[in-house]
Symmetry: C2
Subunit: 253 residues, 2 copies
DNA sequence: CGCTGAATTGACTACCCTCAACATGAGTGG
DNA sequence: CCACTCATGTTGAGGGTAGTCAATTCAGCG
């Protein structure tokens, strides 16, 4: 299928490899190129820049930086965070391969979030001005980008609901299920995975203290719905976890 | 400037008047037409549909409805809400004149929120397909719509921070300040206004019970930062309210 | 005039935060 | 190799904020 593509020295076996095109990227069915015509995928590919991987703790960009690009995560994981009026950090999201960060910067031409690598991560930089120009020529790209931003909105609203209505246990369960389903979208195990973020990040994201996060993990393990070994998570009772996330067994009255 | 426009029987004095064009709408400096060329404003105007006003409690659309349009609020106020997995309502936002709702529907071609009028309200319907077509011809409209969605994202993230990090008092103070500043953007008083939503809606939005909302209003009144008379709010100490919203006087250590 | 729904206020309770001690593992240098 | 520090995570005890339950007030309305 890609037989007439130039042959790279490295194949796509290394997830941090820079020599990947959208056409042969194994994420292209869930990332930006989704539902684009094959010719359009190549046009998109040509505006994308792939830099060297970020190391754990590296900033992709900082809040206040001039906005130029959005970024698709290609490997690894990153967190986005804002600084509140009080000067406290608030983690606003975790982004896994195939997901796009930076759309908060469009509104005012500067990023409102900082994005930091949680582990070694590589990203595809999409210069926004060129993406806009391309969107005018490829209506389905325009549509797709609108959808991407809309999805970010609905996801943020789900977090709002989570923070507004759910107990600590429900929040943790929901986060685990979110990561689980995003992993399975990438053909990875839904039941066993490694959390890329620290307990501190989880607590910050979910509006809980690190102690509470730790206690909930222990409690979920006692209830035999998950097994925890540091950052390794094994969901042993998916239905049970799902029930917990949705307010305990069929709504305790 | 608009001398060659057809003369309407009613002028723009009645805020619910259907016979308004973007060109002569008093909101056009803060609404969608912002920063558009005057010719482009008229093109935008021609795709916009203005229906009869909504009465209090009327649905503009319901979660699950097929997505066709986004809506600019022209008068009155509406709330958006989702139904959580548990079946509970979660108010995800309040929208005042000049603001746009419905962008959550783009992602999956159906709305994830329902939108309900909090009082008599009129809206401008913007058919999304036609807006997309127009965006291809008017790049600044495309840009503007990206910015609009980006702003929705950053606002939702501010709510996330509020719910994650702030006390009940801080949340209420922040909401009052948000409404205050949005009023002043419309040339209305920043210090005195009428809340269009009920205590129940406020509590739902901010993740608080109605009793707590009521108590906080009373407490803020005791502290002489606001005066409350049912839904009428008078901010008597703007700086004080601002300090409360930002974590008490210069961060109590 | 009574009814209904919204709001206020009080008393009690529970969940989660705070403070604290302790455990674990990685990295450093003797 | 071991002692040391530092960062991260776990567990326990106690307290505070906001939720729950309940009674009361008030406005709107048939």
């Amino acid at each position: 299928m890609n037989a007439n593509q130039p042959i790279h020295i490295h194949d796509t076996t290394c997830p941090h490899d820079r020599k990947v095109s959208c056409g042969n990227c194994r994420l292209n069915s869930i990332c930006l190129p989704i539902s684009l015509h094959i010719d359009d995928v190549e046009k998109l590919n040509q505006i994308i820049q792939r830099g060297k991987p970020l190391q754990k703790g590296d900033y992709l960009y900082r809040a206040g930086d001039a906005f130029d690009s959005v970024y698709a995560i290609r490997s690894g994981a990153v967190k986005a965070l804002t600084i509140s009026d009080r000067g406290e950090e608030q983690v606003t999201g975790f982004y896994l391969p195939g997901e796009v960060v930076g759309m908060d910067g469009i509104a005012n031409n500067c990023y409102t979030n900082s994005v930091i690598a949680l582990e070694t991560a590589s990203v595809c930089e999409i210069p926004f001005n060129r993406m806009e120009e391309l969107s005018i020529k490829i209506p389905s790209l325009q549509r797709h980008f609108f959808q991407l931003m809309s999805r970010e909105i609905t996801q943020d609203q789900q977090i709002i609901t989570l923070l507004s209505k759910s107990s600590a246990e429900e929040r943790i369960a929901a986060l685990l299920l979110s990561i689980s389903s995003r992993n399975s979208r990438r053909q990875l195990s839904a039941a066993a995975f490694r959390l890329p973020m620290s307990r501190t990040d989880i607590g910050n994201y979910l509006g809980l203290t690190i102690e509470t996060v730790s206690r909930i993990f222990s409690r979920l393990q006692q209830q035999s719905v998950i097994e925890v070994d540091k950052k390794e998570i094994h969901i042993t009772n998916m239905d049970g976890l799902f029930n917990i996330a949705n307010g305990g067994d069929i709504c305790h009255p």
